[in-house]
Symmetry: C2
Subunit: 100 residues, 2 copies
């Protein structure tokens, strides 16, 4: 998987999206189900533009999706991409276990 440059680029982007504490805390909150930005600002005690910035980062990486409902925008985790990362880690771990 790490032989193909496109995969390396893709994974680097995914991991970068998860490399920030604020974004990880967002992911933690979304584990309870989809949430609108206003609830996240309350739950995480973070400014609105700051959350918007990080939600965009997560969305650009494909880790979350958004859904507009009236004045509210709800964000939710994307399980497919999480599976993609898990598969990568699994393949690396197998390789490492075989040789180390």
């Amino acid at each position: 998987m790490l032989e193909r440059p496109a995969d390396v680029t893709r994974l680097a982007r995914l991991f970068h999206a998860l490399s920030d504490e604020t974004r990880l805390r967002i992911v933690g909150k979304l584990l309870g189900g989809e949430m609108c930005v206003c609830n996240l600002t309350d739950a995480l005690d973070a400014g609105q533009s700051r959350l918007s910035f990080h939600l965009k980062a997560l969305k650009d990486a494909g880790l979350v999706s958004d859904r507009r409902e009236g004045r509210w925008v709800h964000y939710a985790l994307n399980p497919d991409v999480l599976q993609e990362i898990k598969n990568f880690i699994g393949s690396v771990r197998e390789g490492a276990a075989r040789c180390c």
Copy 2:
């Protein structure tokens, strides 16, 4: 897992270590077994100080370990930490699948 601040910090560090293309390519090479820096510079066509910088990042995150042998320093993957990441992704994915 993402409720505890210490875990969030730890995971952010691990993901950051994997968020760089050069470091991911190093990991890819180490899948074939441990390697010394000189072989990595050849395989990845990267400068020596640049590789040293990224190997240090991987080592600080606990993803690789090093072993001196004469003039050479061999680097190898650390399967334990990879398992740690995999467990996290697994728990997140379960949570996501339950609610999305």
